[in-house]
Structure formats: C-alpha cells, structure tokens
C-alpha cells in the first residue's frame, strides 16, 4: 500500500492542521516507519526513511513565507498537544537547523518557537493489536469497576494516571496512560526484560475496546481537578491506546532524598544501571540517562533495584548513525571512562536536580557538597568558593580523582561492567532463533547493524 508522497497546501494554511491529522492517521494505518515533514515551500511531505527533508526552507517567495509562518503556528499548536517522540537534543538541533534555514529566507526566527516540533515526526506504523489475554481483560474490568481514587502523576507530559481500587479487603494501585503508539514502548520493555532489568508489566488497550471504554468512563468520573480533566479529554482525542501498567511500589530516582541517591552509587545498582544505558542506546531513548536530556524520573527504585519506565524504542533513519557512534564510544575505552559515564555519573549522583526543569526540587548536592561528604577532612577548613575553585582546577587538569573516592571509582567501573555484560547478553540472545522476533520489521536492519558493532568490539577484546 502506498501513500501520496506530498500533499500541496500552498495557499491555505488553515487547512494544514486537518490535513496533518489526516496524514498522521493514514500513516498509522499503513504501517512502516515514516516521517512527516514540512517544506518551506508550503508542502507537507511524507517520506519513507530513506528520503530526508532536504528541501526544507529553500523557497523565498514572501507569500510562501507568510503561509509558512502560518503553518508553523497552526502546526505548532496542533503538535504541542500530540505525543511527539522527539527528544530534547533532537528538537534543539532541529530548531537550530530551522533557524539557519529561515535566516536564509529572511524570516524572523522568533516565529519558530515550536518549529522544532514539526520538522520531523517519527511515526512507527500501527500493528495488528494482539488480543488482550482473558485474565488481563478480567483484571482491568475488576480494577476499574472498583476504582475509588484517580490522580494525575507529577510526571509524564501526556498524562499518567494512578488509580486506587478497593477490592475485597485490600487496595490495588494501577497506572494508566494515553499513548498514540504503544509498540514503541512495548518493544523497549521487551529488550529490558530480555537482559533481566525490571520493567512494570504493561498492556496496550485499543481505545475502541470495551476495557478502554470502562477506563475512560471511570477516569472521567473520578478525576476531580478540572484542568486535569480537560487535559485528559484532549489527550483522549489525540491518542489511540490506553497503556495499562502494573504499579511498582517504589520511588523515582529523581524524587529520592539526596543521601539515598548517593547511597545507590553502589556496585550492584550501578551495574544494573550500566545495563539500562546499553539498552537505552540501542533504543535511541534519551529520556532517561542521556547526559544532555537527563530524566531521572524514568528510573524507579524499588527494593534497591532500578526499575525502568517509559522505555521507548525511538526509530528514525537519521538517528541510526548517531546510535552506532554512541554504541561504539560506549563499548570502547578499557582504562578511561567513556565521557557518557563520567557525565552521567556526575548528573545522576551529584547534581540531578539541575536537570529537573519545572520541578519543585531545588538544585542541591553540588560538587562542593559531594566533596565535603566524601572528604570531610580535606574540605573542612575551606570555604565553598575555595573548594569550588579547587574542583574546577582539578577537573581541568584531569585530576578529578582528587575528589573522587575509591567507592565512586568502583561504582563507575561496575557501571562499565554492566554495559559490557548487557551488550554481550543481547548479542548472544540475538543469535538465537526467534528471540528477537518481537522487534518491529522496520527496526530489524538497524538492530542487526548494532549487533555487528557489538560483535566486532567483542572480537577485538
């Protein structure tokens, strides 16, 4: 089945939102991985991965620029409410690209406040919904009929809802969220499960199923807050599945007290975290441990172990090469820490809150605090300013070790070990017939390329 590669909407920007919505729906119907992008010529392009939007922003006609600006505005509003899987650093580079291109055609780049959202939208094709196991269907039914309290999570931009249900003599908590493409998450979940990292059990419920209807009814009834209710209704319109997920009795890493975070820098935890990093790199998921887009809320901690949530497998053709580069960097470097580990360690343990934009948690646990905690004697007679300067100088001279305890070194080395173990494990598993059959068709080539990299690295070591 093919689709019209371009839809011309040169004159009428007002039609754009409707057309885009329609195009998104069509893409989901036909399956396969496509991009929707916007030409500055005023065309919306729908491509297969092999074709990238090279023509974006080349037209100079004032009329088209006006149309373009209108399109940007309308699309921005539309897409702001959509589930977009673009990660922050990708958005940022797309924004720079768009700004550069618009400068060429003399368009005020301030009108591009949301343009980074619209240039490239990965859409993984819709798959045949697998029938929900009878026992899960019964559970959903039971849980929702007995739902007593619903609350929106502090996290999750598209709305994550906790549901407390009272059954017999106990309460059960479940998590429900609205998604546009559950396969992205289910694929990521499966990879983690394969290497023994805990993920909550999730089931995708088609929005038209009877289970979804019950969830919709109960959530509409039990959400008290009017703003949350409004957001739910809006998300409901834009999504096509409910993700029904088991609740993990744990706390997100980002919500843990400072001292707990430090205490988790033990070899066992860090080794598991190393495994998480490897799978995240394979998945292209930057919404957790990637240094620039660090999000510690996607690591839960339960019984001292990491539990991964929101495990998205991000796939679009342009990203494959950067995934491969990252994987190579991660697996190389026997003696020195790859930069990603150093960066991550610093962010994860010493200053996680810097990255929690919009969070009520204040920045704490700076390098200075960390040094004071680890080296009380050395730091006792120094002011914060003095200590900060010493750390900066030590770091410039590659003498960070002056402020790093053996325990921290051990934790970093465990993290590295975890990365290697996970790579080896996933490689061995990928060689087994049928084990990777769950991978969507369009990501298999990419995955195979990454397995070759791991294989090469293994052979050279």
């Amino acid at each position: 089945m093919s689709i019209d590669p371009t839809i011309n909407i040169k004159a009428d920007a007002a039609e754009w939102a409707g057309i885009l919505k329609q195009a998104t729906q069509s893409l989901k119907q036909v399956g396969g991985h496509q991009h929707i992008y916007l030409h500055a010529s005023g065309e919306v392009g729908i491509t297969y991965p092999i074709t990238s939007p090279k023509n974006a922003g080349r037209e100079t006609s004032p009329a088209l620029i006006t149309t373009f600006k209108q399109i940007v505005e309308i699309t921005g509003r539309f897409l702001k409410d959509c589930n977009s899987y673009l990660q922050a650093d990708m958005r940022s580079s797309l924004r720079s690209l768009a700004e550069r291109q618009l400068k060429e055609v003399n368009v005020d780049s301030s009108s591009l406040a949301v343009a980074q959202e619209i240039l490239l939208i990965p859409v993984m094709g819709k798959r045949k919904s697998t029938p929900l196991p009878a026992e899960v269907s019964a559970e959903v039914n039971f849980v929702m009929r007995n739902a007593a309290i619903v609350n929106r999570s502090e996290n999750g931009k598209d709305g994550v809802y906790f549901i407390d249900s009272v059954m017999d003599d106990k309460s059960i908590r479940t998590v429900v969220k609205l998604v546009t493409n559950p396969h992205i998450q289910l694929t990521g979940d499966k990879l983690f499960q394969l290497i023994g990292v805990i993920v909550p059990n999730s089931y995708a419920l088609d929005k038209n199923s009877k289970e979804a209807a019950l969830i919709k009814e109960k959530l509409s009834e039990l959400i008290d807050d009017e703003d949350v209710k409004e957001e739910f209704v809006k998300n409901l319109e834009l999504s096509d599945h409910f993700m029904y997920t088991e609740f993990i009795e744990g706390c997100s890493f980002g919500s843990l007290p400072a001292l707990n975070r430090v205490q988790l820098a033990n070899p066992q935890f860090m080794k598991q975290l190393g495994k998480v990093i490897l799978i995240d790199v394979l998945c292209g998921n930057k919404d957790r441990l990637a240094p620039k887009t660090f999000n510690p809320h996607n690591i839960m901690v339960a019984a001292g172990k990491p539990v991964c949530i929101d495990n998205l497998y991000i796939y679009y053709h342009e990203e494959t090469s950067s995934k491969k580069q990252l994987l190579t960097a991660l697996l190389s470097g026997e003696e020195t820490d790859p930069k990603i580990i150093k960066d991550l360690f610093k962010r994860l343990i010493t200053e996680p809150n810097k990255f929690l934009a919009g969070s009520s948690i204040k920045e704490t646990f700076s390098d200075v605090d960390f040094a004071r905690y680890n080296y009380p004697d050395r730091c006792r007679d120094k002011s914060d300013t003095q200590l900060r300067q010493e750390i900066v100088i030590a770091s410039k001279d590659n003498r960070e070790a002056d402020f790093i305890t053996p325990a921290v070194k051990e934790a970093r080395s465990a993290m590295r070990e975890g990365i290697r173990d996970a790579a080896r494990e996933i490689l061995l598993l990928s060689r087994q017939t049928g084990v990777m059959d769950f991978l969507p068709e369009e990501v298999r080539d990419e995955f195979a390329e990454m397995m070759s990299i791991i294989n090469e690295m293994e052979e050279t070591q």
Partner: protein, 221 residues
C-alpha cells in the same frame, strides 16, 4: 486458610498508607492526600513529613535523613497498632478506658474516641521524641482541640457507659486529672521544654492505662 475478617474500609486505606509512607514520593504524597480522610486518622503528622521530605531533597545531612526515615517507620508501626486497635480492640483494651468500655458496651463512639486520643498523642510523641521544632505548633494545636473535645464529649461519653458506682469514681478522677495533664503538656510543648513534655505525655498515658485497668477489674467482679 480463608480469611473470615470482614472488609473494613479504614483498614484498607491504612494498609495503603503504610505502603505509601514507605515510598513517600511526590506522587505517593499526592495519592495520600486524596485518600487520607478515608483512613479515619486524626493526626496531621503527614504535613510535617511532607515538609521533611522537601528538606531531605535539598540536604545531605545524615541526621535529618535518619530522623525523617525513623519518623516514617514509627508512623508505619503506629498504623499497625491502630489497625489492631480497630479490628481486635480486645487485644489492647487495657490502653485506655474508652477502648475498655467499648468492649463491654459495643459502643462505636467509644472506640472512635479512643482512636482519636491515640492519634493525637502519637503526634505529640513524635514531636517530643525527635524534638521537632517545626512540629511543635501542630502538636499544640491538636492537643488543644483534643482537650476541648475530651471535656465536652469524650469524658461524658465514658461516664454514660460506666454504670458501676465505683467506676464513676475512677472516671471522676480521670476527668479531673487528664484534661489538666493535656494542658500542661500543651504548655511545655509551647515552651519547647521537651524533657518535661516527655514526662507529662507518659503520665497522661499512664493515667488512662490505670483507669482502664481499674475499670477492667470492676467489670470482672
């Protein structure tokens, strides 16, 4: 073995609270706020814990974290005791005369009075035990309200339930001493004299226990 325990909604939510106290993340706190009234708990200690949680996020002070964790553990332990008091009051009927007489009369109001009193004394116990200056005002406020309701209602309720003449004498004495003790406790907390407050709290609990024991002996005659 099948359970024959009748479903008790307050117990269900108290069990949930125990789990959420163990997690105490911003999401767990939000959920707690949504169902707290369903637990029947009268102590507002959660608000102090929320405050402390915020502080631990900003600090690597070992003492603060230890205190915060200890209070959560004490709270969980208290909830366990409260559940026993709610569903098997017989097992702890010696702790106060309200619980003792609720066993004799089956009066639900007496049981609720007892639960209320212990909830508030638990707040005081935590504030005193950890010398929580930030919890002082809360403990004072809760004790003040308790003293008023004790005089206006709970003590009268107790006297109505006790028919024995000697029992009335025991309760007269309690009526005379317990509210005073609570006022003194309130004052010592206001003055941040935690040592004195600790003794007064112990005395208040002892008085209730002694009255309960005495009533128990009378009811056995």
């Amino acid at each position: 073995m099948s359970s024959s325990v009748t479903s008790n909604p307050q117990k269900i939510w108290l069990d949930r609270l125990k789990k959420d106290l163990g997690i105490f993340s911003p999401d767990a706190i939000k959920m707690i706020k949504a169902y707290l009234s369903k637990t029947g708990l009268k102590t507002k200690l959660i608000s102090i814990l929320v405050q402390m949680h915020g502080e631990t996020m900003d600090s690597y002070n070992e003492d603060l974290k230890r205190k915060y964790n200890t209070i959560r553990s004490e709270f969980i332990k208290y909830i366990d005791e409260r559940i026993v008091e709610m569903i098997s009051p017989k097992e702890c009927s010696w702790i106060d005369p309200w619980l003792m007489l609720s066993q004799v009369s089956g009066d639900q109001e007496l049981l609720e009075s007892s639960l209320h009193i212990h909830d508030i004394l638990f707040t005081a116990q935590v504030v005193i035990g950890h010398q929580l200056l930030k919890g002082k005002d809360l403990a004072v406020e809760e004790l003040h309200e308790l003293k008023d309701i004790l005089v206006e209602s709970y003590l009268k309720l107790l006297k109505r339930a006790a028919h024995h003449e000697s029992a009335q004498k025991i309760l007269d004495e309690l009526q005379d001493t317990l509210p005073k003790k609570l006022v003194e406790l309130e004052t010592s907390l206001r003055e941040e004299d935690f040592e004195k407050a600790k003794i007064l709290l112990q005395q208040a609990e002892d008085e209730m226990r002694v009255s309960s024991k005495a009533l128990s002996v009378l009811s056995e005659r």
